[in-house]
Symmetry: C2
Subunit: 231 residues, 2 copies
C-alpha cells in the first residue's frame, strides 16, 4: 500500500465521479478525494459524496467551501432561477444549469492540492457523449488544462509529468454504468438529480435525471437509487 | 459611462494589483474587483483591498471565501510554517510562501465571474521581474491560461475574444511604482507584507516587504505606507 501513487479525484456524489474514482483505484492509485460545497441548491450532494468516499475507501477526503452562488449566473446555484425540466436531451446550446467555469475552478484547486500532496495525477468524471453541452466537459478543454498545469506549478516547472485523466470522456452513459457495475459499484449511494426533494428523492425531470434514466435503460439494468433504502 | 466595457480585476490590497486596476481604469474599463479570503495569515489584506477598491471607484467588489489553508503546503496560509525572513532576493527556487496553484485558482474564478458579467477582459497584477520566483507569475503561464479560457467557457465557444491582461508582467518594481504615481495612486492604502503585526505594521523582512522597499528606493520616492496615518 505504501507504494501506491496518489491521485486527486474530483468527487461530487454523482454516478460519473464515483465511477471515475473506481477507475483510479483499479489503476493502482490511492485516492485523495476533493468535493466542493459551492452553493449548489442542495447539500444532499455532499452527503452522497461522503457515502461514496467511504465505500471507495479513499485515503483522504477534503470538502472545501467555495460559494460560487455569490457570482450568480446559474440555475444550479441561484434560488431565483428554476432548474429546467423536460428539456429535450441533445438540444443544442448550453442550459442554465451550467455553472460558469466550474470545472476550470475545480481542476485548479485539484491542481493545488496535487502539488501539496506531491501527486502527479488528477481524475475528473467529465463526459462528452451523454452530457448537457457544457464547454468544460469537452476533450479540448481537458487538453488545454493539462497544458496549463505543466506551466502553472512547481512540479511542472521541475519537469514532472502532470496528467489530467478523464476516463469517461468518450463513453456513453450506458457504458459508464456497465463499467461501474463491473468494478462492483453500488450506484444506490449516488445522487445525480439537480433538484431533489428535501428527503433526497430525484425529480426525474432535470437533464441529469433523464440522462441517468436513459443510461440505465440502455444498459438494461434497473437504477438501484430509485429502489434504495433511504439514507 | 454606460458604454464602458467591464473587466474583472483581481485585487489583493497590495501595490501590484492596485496599480493593475488603475491601468484597467485608464484603459476605459469599468472595474469588477475580485478579492479572495483564502486563509491567508491576516485579514488586514482584505481591509486593504476594500480601501483600494473604494479609492478606485470600482463598479462592483466581490469578496469570496475559499479556504486554501485546508489544503496546507504554504507558509502563507499555515500557522505552523514560518514566513521566511531576510531571504536573499533573487535566490533561485520557489519559497515556502508559494500557495500552490493560487493564481490558477484565482483566474479560474475570475473567468467564471467574467462569463456571468459578459466581460471579455481579466486583469491580474503578476510580475516576472522583481518577484519571488512563483511559476504562476510567468508570461508562459498567462498565455496558457488565455488558451484555456477560450475553450473553457460559453463566451469562448461562441467565438468571443477573451483576454487575460497582465500589464505589469515585464516591469520592474520601480517602474510599477512610477506608473502608479503617474496614475495618481495613493500607495499608503496598500499592504504588501506577508506577516504584518496585528495593527498592520509591515515586518520589513519578508520577500514582499523587501521587494517593495527596494522598488521605492530604486524609484527614488518614499513609501507612504511606512509614514501613513493608521487606518
Amino acid at each position: 500500500m505504501g507504494h501506491m501513487p496518489t491521485a486527486v479525484v474530483l468527487l461530487s456524489g454523482g454516478l460519473d465521479s464515483y465511477t471515475t474514482a473506481a477507475v483510479a483505484r483499479r489503476d493502482g492509485f490511492a485516492i485523495a478525494a476533493l468535493t466542493f460545497r459551492y452553493g449548489q441548491r442542495h447539500r444532499l450532494e455532499i452527503d452522497a459524496a461522503r457515502r461514496v468516499a467511504q465505500a471507495l475507501g479513499v485515503t483522504r477526503h477534503l470538502v472545501l467551501d467555495l460559494d460560487l452562488s455569490a457570482m450568480g449566473g446559474s440555475s444550479l446555484t441561484s434560488p431565483d432561477l428554476a432548474v429546467p425540466r423536460d428539456r429535450p436531451l441533445g438540444e443544442p446550446g448550453i442550459p442554465s444549469t451550467y455553472v460558469p467555469a466550474r470545472n476550470t475552478i475545480f481542476l485548479s484547486v485539484a491542481l493545488g492540492w496535487a502539488e501539496v500532496l506531491g501527486a502527479h495525477d488528477i481524475f475528473i468524471g467529465v463526459n462528452a457523449v451523454d452530457y448537457s453541452g457544457y464547454p468544460d466537459c469537452r476533450p479540448e478543454f481537458i487538453r488545454a488544462f493539462g497544458s496549463l498545469a505543466r506551466v502553472a506549478t512547481r512540479l511542472g516547472v521541475e519537469g514532472a509529468p502532470l496528467m489530467v485523466h478523464a476516463p469517461l470522456i468518450s463513453l456513453s452513459k450506458a457504458e459508464i454504468i456497465r463499467l461501474g457495475l463491473e468494478l462492483g459499484l453500488d450506484y444506490s449511494l449516488t445522487l445525480s438529480c439537480y433538484d431533489p426533494s428535501p428527503a433526497g428523492v430525484p425529480c426525474g425531470r432535470c437533464d441529469s435525471c433523464r440522462l441517468r434514466a436513459a443510461g440505465f435503460a440502455a444498459a438494461g439494468v434497473l437504477d438501484p437509487a430509485l429502489h434504495a433504502h433511504p439514507h
